[in-house]
């Protein structure tokens, strides 16, 4: 086993807000708090990064892409810090780590034809030696993604649907063949009827070009459908990781349990039986420096949860959670 494909090591990101013109108080918001995970890349996997809005999912994505710098900690791609990659071998990094953003409208320039994003990629990374060849590989890749080139080539962004715009991004990935794709809520803005086509395409692509993917979403139904592994973030901290099916079937952390419980099941015969209790929490509580991030809402809260931060530890084989409810299990497995 060599270097992992991606290693996020103890990454923290602080944002400063206020302080403008000295009129307001300067505040530091910790968006991501000592998050670590690895994507081994041994076999292609889709790892879902799940959390509510404001949990730091997109901040992590932006740091991996080098669009933001971590306040502390480091992100290693194939064993080398991303900052180094971006300084020395930016082109190689950009080729191997690709992104699909949330907004299928924002990434296209409305004055250019949609196929420009494909031909630009072909040119930039020298994927074809002639115009004819470029044309051929673009057409071939579109067909492979189940798109009809005759319907899409030469069209302008407003002429095609959001689903097709996002699937063209997959065509681009098929052309570039990156090792890692960061997908930030790629289907949240497209229609339900077209979502599953995108998700099926993405899974097909994973095996076809042997890429790994960090799939960011707030929708557990989608995470469950598309991903192999799942990582659950709560207010900037990682609270649970594990194989997707196993986490959803038997969530360990009370936060994950709450999330899984709230998923609407598309079957009127299986409606919710319990009601959610809404407890308001102040911003300060949410960003508690001390203790577990979920302690103010947790139904199983214990005194120690308010004073100490639970570490992310292995509770069962392949399953990690950051919760003191499992302290005994952790104690028992500790090497003496």
């Amino acid at each position: 086993m060599g270097e992992p494909l991606l290693e996020v090591r103890n990454v923290t990101k602080d944002y400063t807000i206020g302080g403008g013109l000295g009129l307001t108080e300067r505040k530091i918001i910790r968006a991501v708090d000592k998050v670590s995970f690895t994507i081994s890349g041994e076999k292609p996997t889709i790892s879902a990064l799940v959390g509510q809005s404001g949990s730091g999912k997109s901040t992590i994505a932006r740091m991996i892409l080098g669009l933001l710098e971590p306040t502390s900690g480091g992100i290693l791609y194939q064993g080398k810090d991303t900052r180094l990659w971006l300084k020395k071998e930016k082109k190689a990094y950009r080729r191997n780590v690709q992104v699909i953003f949330q907004d299928p409208y924002g990434i296209y320039n409305p004055f250019y034809r949609v196929d420009r994003v494909l031909f630009k990629a072909v040119k930039k990374f020298g994927l074809a030696s002639s115009n004819d060849e470029a044309h051929n590989i673009v057409i071939e890749s579109m067909r492979a993604m189940g798109l009809r080139p005759e319907d899409l080539l030469g069209r302008y962004p407003h002429q095609i649907s959001g689903g097709e715009r996002q699937r063209l991004m997959l065509v681009r990935i098929l052309l570039i063949k990156p090792k890692l794709v960061i997908a930030d809520e790629p289907v949240s803005m497209i229609d339900v009827s077209l979502r599953s086509i995108f998700l099926n395409n993405l899974q097909g692509l994973k095996n076809r070009i042997k890429m790994s993917c960090v799939y960011i979403t707030h929708d557990l139904n989608i995470a469950h459908y598309v991903s192999d592994d799942i990582m659950v973030l709560c207010h900037g901290r990682m609270v649970e990781t594990g194989e997707t099916k196993s986490v959803v079937r038997d969530p360990l952390h009370p936060y994950t349990q709450n999330l899984v419980n709230a998923i609407p099941i598309p079957d009127p015969k299986k409606r919710w039986k319990d009601t959610v209790e809404i407890k308001g929490a102040t911003f300060e509580e949410l960003r508690a420096e001390q203790g577990c991030i979920y302690s103010h809402r947790c139904p199983h809260v214990m005194p120690m949860c308010k004073s100490e931060i639970p570490p992310l530890a292995e509770i069962k084989p392949g399953r990690k959670a950051a919760c003191f409810l499992y302290s005994e299990v952790i104690e028992a497995t500790k090497p003496k």
Partner: protein, 316 residues
């Protein structure tokens, strides 16, 4: 049972330089009192235009081309602006799409809630304030919220404020347009349950518009599936999910990812443009079961069996 709202052959068009955009093009249904009535469909199918038409909150270039909207024996289309204004909030309430952004940023929550009451009823300031506070409690918000400004609240809390405001004057019908879109799962669950409790606790009839079928499955009693400005199918939620009649409903129900399905297929093709609906059945270019007649004749929308309506040639 006498329906509380009856919509007959409603057409809501938008004027444009290319001709009329036929967003809602001949829609008929009735809503029974005390039910949560769901409207589902892809974006651009006319869901929002339909409810805006029903409440007559449409603005030009949209206009009501034809049809009847009968609410408790009153034809809403024939009413004048002033008469309509009197009905709003007291009889009909509207929770528009993205309504959490419709709060006034420079007024405290209680002021906005009181405003709605004072302008529509003879009520003292003190009474209005008390009603606002109890309204907030009912949707699970702490009373401190009353003194806060909108920017101090989260999206879910703002959405609750809007729901609380919409029930203040105890209307008989509330129309909620995509009230849970863009909210987190846990918050979404809370809001959906608040909406369901409007009916359970106050006997309010709710029209619930959402593109997310999973949300419909949780709270809705009857469901309309719209496609391309028309109704594809109407039935009880159990019927539409358990045994969809229209091919579009079938595909749509099957396209929802869920914990219980390993593979879901989407619906290939594009939703058509309201400027130029396909001839015949509007779904035929995407329909896997289409026959020659589907591209020529528009299928009639009619009762297929007791309580179930659909528009499809295959059901003839």
């Amino acid at each position: 049972m006498e329906p509380i709202l009856r919509v007959e052959d409603l057409r809501v068009y938008y004027k444009s330089i290319f001709g009329d955009v036929r967003s809602v093009d001949g829609v008929s249904f009735s809503v029974n009192p005390n039910e949560v009535f769901g409207i589902a469909g892809e974006s651009g199918c006319g869901k929002s235009t339909l409810v805006e038409g029903i409440l007559r909150v449409i603005v030009p270039p949209a206009y009501i081309r034809s049809g009847r909207i009968v609410f408790k024996n009153t034809d809403l289309i024939s009413l004048g602006e002033e008469e309509l204004r009197k009905m709003r909030w007291k009889e009909l309430s509207y929770i528009p799409q993205g309504s959490m952004n419709s709060l006034n940023p420079v007024l405290r929550i209680e002021e906005q809630m009181m405003d709605a009451m004072i302008s529509h009823t003879e009520i003292s300031k003190q009474e209005a304030k008390e009603a606002a506070l109890s309204g907030l409690k009912e949707v699970g918000l702490p009373v401190e919220v009353a003194r806060m400004y909108p920017h101090e609240l989260s999206g879910g809390m703002k959405q609750r404020v809007i729901i609380a405001t919409s029930v203040l004057l105890k209307p008989s019908l509330i129309v909620a347009d995509e009230p849970v879109t863009a909210l987190d799962v846990v918050v979404q669950k809370g809001i959906l349950q608040s909406i369901a409790s409007l009916r359970d606790r106050h006997g309010i009839t709710v029209i619930f518009v959402a593109h997310d079928l999973a949300a419909h499955a949780e709270i809705v009693d009857s469901l309309v599936i719209m496609y391309a400005g028309r109704i594809a199918e109407i039935g009880s939620i159990f019927d539409v999910f358990g045994d969809p009649l229209h091919p579009y409903s079938k595909l749509l129900v099957a396209a929802v990812p869920s914990m219980e399905k390993d593979v879901v297929e989407g619906i290939p093709g594009l939703a058509p443009s309201p400027l130029d609906w396909p001839p015949g059945c509007r779904f035929h270019p995407r329909c896997p079961y289409a026959t020659p007649i589907c591209s020529k004749e528009e299928p009639a929308f009619k009762a297929v069996r007791q309580g179930r309506y659909a528009a499809c040639h295959l059901l003839e």
